[in-house]
């Protein structure tokens, strides 16, 4: 069960067909979304800024050629693949450029080529945690004056059999029937989603100097590696991170990338139970679990909600998510990885 990508005209952000041909879907999604972010920040095509813009991308790997893989696996299962033949099949049947569509750092490479983002380029890996760290490091660098402006984000294509394989090993993939994230306790798992989510982050001074209008202020990002072999470790980790954010009232909004995987989601729910005033939104119900893209997706939704002065409606038949009418001024973005990595960010209205 997956959330495939909605129809997108990639041409709008990736004008050269030749560039599109060099990419697989996850890279097209990411390069497209990165272009939207640059557009919305008003820096698209601004070579002076792009040439010194820092980039931190969270990425997994790219699509494999499933037909080639399946042919080899079937041949082997039928005893028709002597070890020496694997090389021959790979040499003859893999497209030379497929490698470039698979390498994690080549999403950043494509964004550099298509959009000209050419300051620094760093690709973090490691499922959900990688994008929490991407945001954390970008904010820390900007805060310390090591960077003025950065493009941060991730892309994920859920419509991939080879990816489902990895999550099937651990029985993390949602099967048989769909249910909203908060209604999966007895039928846990995540439906893999497809999304590209990118944000342009910059120092206040840099934004003001170029007359940019901010969506929101990204006040703080914290991350942790809970020792999950101990039951309750996720709840404990979230409880320890919360005070570091500086949330001033408990009626804030919290946008979570809760996966629906267990025991992580139950432990997260226990933490949320200690903050009953929060208006919670789980992005996974609507978007599916977009893995590396889930945290930047939450950040983007938080920044949009702040700038529009309204949180979007609840989407949860269990009643955990409640409506919120007043304009949000503080939104916590929460990320709990399906098997490792936790983090939080505080997004606030710009004063």
């Amino acid at each position: 069960m997956i959330h495939p990508i909605a129809p997108v005209s990639f041409d709008a952000q990736i004008p050269k067909k030749g560039d599109q041909r060099q990419m697989e879907t996850w890279q097209r999604i990411g390069t497209y979304a990165a272009g939207l972010a640059l557009d919305s920040a008003g820096v698209k095509g601004n070579q002076e800024i792009l040439s010194r813009m820092d980039m931190i991308i969270a990425a997994g790997g790219g699509e494999r050629d499933l037909n080639v893989d399946l042919a080899i696996m079937n041949a082997d299962a039928q005893g028709k693949l002597p070890p020496a033949l694997l090389n021959e099949k790979l040499m003859n049947e893999l497209r030379p450029t497929l490698f470039l569509a698979q390498l994690s750092n080549l999403l950043a490479g494509n964004i550099a080529i298509v959009h000209g983002v050419c300051g620094t380029s760093r690709t973090f890996m490691g499922e959900e945690a990688s994008s929490i760290d991407a945001a954390r490091i970008a904010v820390a660098r900007i805060g310390a004056g090591q960077s003025d402006i950065a493009l941060v984000g991730a892309a994920h294509n859920g419509d991939r059999g080879d990816l489902l394989m990895l999550y099937s090993f651990g029985d993390f993939a949602l099967k048989d029937r769909y249910a909203p994230v908060w209604a999966r306790r007895n039928h846990p798992g995540f439906a893999i989603g497809s999304a590209g989510a990118f944000l342009v982050m910059e120092s206040r001074e840099h934004a003001e100097a170029r007359g940019a209008k901010p969506y929101a202020k990204l006040t703080k990002v914290v991350a942790d590696l809970a020792k999950r072999k101990q039951p309750g470790a996720v709840t404990k980790s979230l409880r320890a991170m919360w005070p570091q954010l500086g949330v001033s009232n408990d009626n804030a909004v919290l946008i979570t990338g809760a996966t629906g995987a267990e025991p992580a989601t139950s432990e997260e729910r226990e933490f949320l139970g200690q903050h009953p005033g929060l208006a919670v939104r789980a992005t996974g119900t609507t978007f599916g679990h977009t893995m590396e893209a889930q945290f930047p997706l939450g950040l983007a939704l938080a920044a949009l909600s702040i700038s529009r002065g309204a949180l979007y409606p609840a989407n949860d038949p269990t009643g955990l998510e409640v409506e919120k009418t007043e304009a949000p001024t503080q939104i916590v973005v929460l990320g709990v990885g399906h098997w490792q990595g936790e983090g939080m960010a505080l997004v606030e209205a710009v004063k």
């Binding site: 399946l70 020496a84 090389n87 490479g109 059999g161 090993f169 990595g341």
Partner: protein, 425 residues
């Protein structure tokens, strides 16, 4: 006593522990001895059948074994060995309790062929499709493959073993990954977030599919016989790089913290720089502009003039284009001074350790500073006249070395450079 801050007011970042594994051997002593003797770690691959492959040699680390074999498990093991050596030398923290974060350069991870085929043999259907295959993947029998082949798995295991603090970062910037791990560590210390970081870079990628992929991009040398002669950076008859495995680990500390605990200072990371190339997915801009920018940024970050660099530990992959571009970029920045700088490429002997290269070569640069001896570039028999570097050809050279620039210019436009010095400026 020198002030603990650099000329920009930032904490000075020093190295207090180093560990290394390459095809030449395990540990600094063995590596340095063989590296300066001009020995090669490149051999004909014995790990898997070589039928149909155009390239049949690599710098595989065969003296370290993992069972069951996977490149991911080997990468982890190499990282552990290097880290243990670095921590022992540094004496920082306690066993299983490193007082700072982990930055890990590691190759992108995916389920590998032996494991894929192991599952395929369990699929009940004949002529199965992906749905049948996925059904066999699930059910818990292969749950250990999830733990092994998620992208964060190596970092998670290292963080648990060595007790690093906070969320460990796994990163890939292709051939520059090792340098990026060091750079992230330097930045964290300069921000004052931590007094120490563990920067590790590892690669255990010599497997059939990885070799096929690089081969299909025509990136690998095919001069298989003799394997030791294949990697010949800056030679006219060079024809590609040689894949290799290895790991490097560095303990970075603020100078202040290192002095406070009486640690031995092995060297200083004086500057780091990075600049992305938007020219092409695998090729560097032929005019070398991004590499030029990268080298200039690194000098600026260190607050140094080109004339202060007295050795370059080159990226020197032995590919026709990259070596040429590296000369162009270097000569553009260093001008007349270029001819005074002895240049050498460790890859002539250890091969290209890809994700690990930046850290492996930073360690060799620091050893060069310590021993005041520059390791050779072997197989330098037919110098390329288009690359008139002062190549330290074939024999190690004793020299006064105070500041080394170590370059990493890689796939996907990733350029990163480091400047390493002996003493805090």
């Amino acid at each position: 006593m020198t002030a603990p801050r650099d000329k920009f007011g930032r904490p000075i970042v020093v190295v207090t522990g180093m560990g290394i594994v390459t095809s030449l051997g395990g540990g600094k002593a063995d590596n340095w001895k063989r590296l300066t003797a001009g020995e090669s770690g490149i051999k004909t691959v014995t790990r898997f059948p070589l039928d149909s492959l155009k390239t049949t040699m690599a710098g595989a680390v065969d003296f370290v074994t993992v069972d069951p074999f996977s490149s991911t498990s080997l990468s982890q093991r190499l990282a552990e060995i290097a880290t243990e050596e670095a921590l022992e030398q540094s004496g920082i923290g306690n066993k299983g309790d490193f007082p700072g974060p982990l930055f890990l350069a590691v190759a992108p991870i995916e389920t590998e062929w032996p494991q894929r085929l192991e599952i395929a043999r369990e699929v009940p259907a004949k002529d199965f499709g992906i749905i049948d295959y996925l059904a066999t993947c699930s059910g818990g029998k292969f749950a250990h493959f999830h733990r092994r082949f998620t992208f964060g798995s190596v970092a998670l295991n290292l963080a648990e073993t060595f007790g690093t603090k906070g969320s460990p970062i796994s990163l890939s910037t292709a051939c520059a990954s090792g340098a990026t791990a060091i750079q992230l560590g330097v930045e964290a210390i300069r921000r004052g977030e931590t007094d120490a970081t563990l920067c590790v870079a590892t690669d255990g990628s010599v497997n059939p599919e990885a070799m096929v992929r690089f081969s299909l991009l025509s990136a690998l040398s095919t001069q298989n016989d003799p394997p030791q002669g294949a990697s010949k950076p800056f030679s006219k008859n060079r024809d590609g790089f040689v894949m290799a495995e290895g790991a490097g680990a560095l303990v970075l500390e603020s100078y202040e913290a290192a002095m406070a605990r009486g640690a031995r200072i092995l060297g200083v990371v004086a500057g780091c720089g990075e600049l992305t190339d938007s020219f092409h997915r695998t090729r560097s801009a032929p005019d070398g502009k991004p590499a030029i920018g990268c080298v200039r940024k690194t000098l600026a970050d260190a607050g140094m003039e080109p004339e202060q660099i007295d050795h370059i530990n080159a990226h020197g992959t032995s590919t026709p284009e990259n070596d040429k571009m590296e000369y162009l970029a270097t000569s553009a920045v260093f001008g007349e001074h270029t001819k005074n700088i002895p240049v050498s490429s460790n890859k002539s002997m250890v091969g290209h350790t890809i994700s690990a290269a930046g850290a492996v070569e930073a360690i060799f640069s620091l050893l060069t500073l310590e021993h005041q001896r520059i390791p050779p570039t072997i197989n330098y028999e037919v110098p390329d006249p288009a690359i008139p570097f002062d190549v330290v050809g074939n024999k190690a050279r004793d020299a006064k070395v105070t500041a080394v620039m170590s370059n990493s210019f890689g796939f996907g436009g990733q350029n990163a450079s480091l400047i390493l010095t002996r003493e805090p400026a």
